[in-house]
């Protein structure tokens, strides 16, 4: 699904290398988790893959289903099937959540030369998916993320994911700012979207989220590289021992 080869990235504004040769191969239908200490480059990786400005790729490549994505605009990557669930979803006052969702769904369809979703069909689909995430009509009517609690913002991210039906979903610290109940709800939303053709990359600090969204593969990232890859047990190991042992191993 997503192949990342020897990815080197630095900040555009300053001469600071963040990613120093990331290699990752994500197969269809799998859930990969990336864990790692603060500043290891996890969020940068998610931003670079989804097309945020301010970064310069100095070496390496990233392919989504065999197609290079690093030269694409953010909206083209989205239309190609990439989705980033933000750690801090942005508030957009004055733009209704429904308007935003419908604009996004139809913009992607247009970019893919598909027929736009009619207002009636859209309403039907969004209501059903919102219900599963316990998002009520009031939340759909409100401005995008404005006045939403931390949990509501993250549920709204998952609703967008459910509506856009991406192939490759990157979740950037989706567990941050969530209480236990909200984490369960968000995880249920994610798990409902798991299928053999959809791949997830779950970035998190804590093993806790991985109790709910069970990963197939766990990667440890440090200092701009993937330093260790293993099964779900690797996450438990980190939870117990911290990153210090692993960092020493590679030092």
């Amino acid at each position: 699904m997503l192949n990342i080869k020897n990815l080197h990235v630095k900040l555009e504004e300053e001469d600071k290398q963040i990613l120093k040769g990331v290699n990752l191969s994500l197969e269809p239908g799998k859930v990969h988790a990336i864990m790692g200490p603060n500043g290891s480059g996890k969020s940068t990786l998610s931003y670079v893959l989804s097309g945020k400005g301010g970064y310069e790729v100095t070496e390496g490549a990233a392919q989504l289903e065999g197609v290079d994505i690093l030269d694409m605009e953010a909206e083209e990557r989205a239309a190609a099937g990439l989705f980033l669930a933000f750690q801090y979803p942005v508030e957009i006052p004055g733009v209704g959540n429904m308007t935003f969702l419908r604009t996004a769904v139809n913009a992607q369809r247009k970019l893919r030369s598909e027929e736009e979703m009619s207002a009636g069909e859209f309403l039907k689909v969004v209501r059903a998916k919102a219900k599963d995430l316990k998002i009520d009509a009031e939340m759909l009517k409100r401005s995008v993320n404005v006045g939403f609690s931390g949990g509501e913002k993250k549920r709204n991210e998952i609703l967008q994911m459910a509506m856009l039906e991406p192939k490759m979903c990157i979740l950037d610290e989706t567990d941050s700012g969530l209480d236990v109940d909200a984490m369960k709800l968000v995880s249920q939303g994610v798990n409902a979207l798991r299928d053999e053709n959809r791949t997830f990359l779950v970035i998190t600090h804590y093993q806790r989220l991985l109790d709910h969204i069970k990963p197939d593969v766990v990667h440890i990232m440090a200092n701009g590289r993937i330093i260790k890859t293993g099964g779900p047990e690797l996450a438990l190991e980190v939870e117990q021992n911290g990153y210090a042992d692993l960092l020493e191993e590679i030092a």
Binding site: E73, E75, A78, V90, G94, Q108
Partner: protein, 421 residues
């Protein structure tokens, strides 16, 4: 030192003798006095402090060299039931004036010779009261020479909005003077769309009596046109006055609004949103006087500027001694979509009472890159994402519109205007 050259500028007339001659007693006196006011103060000059950010020349010259252009707001509000009044090249066809319950509608041109008691007490009087402390001589000129306007006497709750639709062609120069009287407890909404002329000088005098409600929504469009407007409002106790203007075109626009809160517990809102692109200069000049206890006033202005467009805001809140418990709010913000555009703001507060809350703020900013990335990461192309963020930016001004249906119409119109660009 050489004497300053006496540059002879061909300026607009300050008086219209045949018009005064033919006017009835109620407007004759007002016109003569206004003409005298204009002559005493003289037309605005470039060096006048009040015209520091907007050159008055285009409004002062006698000649109009512009061509009125196509209306972009045509059809707006058509799906709403309204009491429709059409202005064509600055003229009302009096025979077409509709009638409606709880109000009378007359045209200035046909009523000028009559003795309209209710209008006599307002026509030119609110404008005259608005000449202090700053002279607005082009408004006085308007009172003196205006031949057309809509006179509305509101005596109860008018069910549908009165919709003034102005169209013009060619190099028309329109001077229009509207008068609206809202009786105690009466209610009316007035919508103005379009352009009265290639150049227009518009005065709207509104007297809202105790407990009355007046809502005004205006959409200014057109390309190559110059427009100067003045709203003079007198607001009684527990009355509500709201005006909102959307400017989505026109080379030069100056909207002045002069309001006096004269009764306790009244509230006013003056709001505006403009989208300026290229050869576009837009000036909002507001003066709100609090002269009663426990009144609220709000000024909310949002300007989106690109390709060298210029936005101006001069807003003042004057709180007179004794106007305790005043709640004044003023915000003016610009969204600058490139480095060539500019926003010039002069917020002012002058307060002579000691128990008041007045807040003001003014900002200029660019598009929020994080928000732009958020939208694009969802598949929204950059241009459309900027449109959505522009809507987001002006939303606070549109929220000042009380009627949610009309606010929705304005939003839809804005969306259409942007996607057409």
């Amino acid at each position: 030192m050489a004497a300053p050259s006496q540059q002879k500028v061909n300026t607009r007339a300050l008086c219209d003798a045949p018009l005064i001659e033919s006017s009835g007693v109620w407007s004759k006196e007002a016109r003569m006095m206004a003409s005298a006011r204009a002559q005493a103060s003289g037309l605005p000059q470039r060096r006048d402090e009040y015209w520091k950010y907007t050159r008055p020349d285009a409004f002062v010259h006698a000649d109009v060299t512009l061509q009125a252009s196509q209306r972009s707001s045509l059809g707006l509000f058509d799906q709403r039931a309204t009491i429709s009044v059409a202005f064509e090249d600055g003229q009302i066809q009096a025979a077409t004036l509709p009638s409606a319950a709880h109000c009378t509608l007359e045209s200035l041109s046909s009523a000028s010779g009559l003795d309209l008691h209710w209008a006599r007490d307002i026509y030119g009087h609110l404008e005259a009261a608005g000449q202090k402390p700053v002279q607005r001589s082009l408004a006085a000129v308007n009172t003196a020479v205006a031949r057309e306007g809509l006179l509305v006497n509101v005596t109860g709750a008018v069910a549908a909005p009165i919709h003034i639709q102005a169209t013009s062609s060619g190099q028309s120069d329109s001077t229009i003077h509207h008068v609206i009287k809202v009786a105690p407890g009466a209610e009316v909404t007035v919508i103005e769309t379009g352009q009265y002329g290639a150049r227009s000088n518009i005065v709207l005098e509104v007297d809202v009596a105790d407990g009355g409600r007046f809502q005004h929504i205006r959409v200014q469009d057109g390309n190559e046109r110059h427009m100067l407007t003045h709203i003079f409002g007198k607001i009684g106790a527990e009355a509500v006055f709201k005006t909102f203007t959307l400017t989505a075109g026109g080379q030069l626009t100056r909207n002045e609004c002069v309001l006096q809160l004269l009764g306790d517990d009244a509230s006013v809102s003056v709001a505006g949103a403009c989208l300026g692109d290229g050869d576009f200069h837009h000036d909002d000049t507001v003066f709100i006087t609090h002269d009663a206890v426990n009144c609220e006033s709000r000024q909310v202005f949002k300007k989106v500027l690109r390709n060298g467009a210029v936005g101006v805001f001069q807003g003042k809140i004057l709180v007179k001694a004794g106007a305790q418990k005043t709640d004044g709010y003023q915000i003016s913000q610009s969204l600058l979509l490139d480095d060539d555009s500019q926003f010039l703001a002069k917020p002012e507060l002058e307060i002579y009472a000691d128990d008041v809350a007045c807040s003001h703020g003014s900002t200029s900013g660019a598009i929020d890159m994080q928000a732009l990335f958020y939208l694009r990461s969802r598949g929204v192309p950059e241009a459309k994402a900027i449109d959505l963020l522009t809507l987001s930016f002006v939303a606070e001004a549109i929220e000042e519109i009380e009627d949610s249906d009309l606010a929705q119409d304005i939003l839809d119109h804005l969306t259409n205007t942007m996607s057409a660009q």
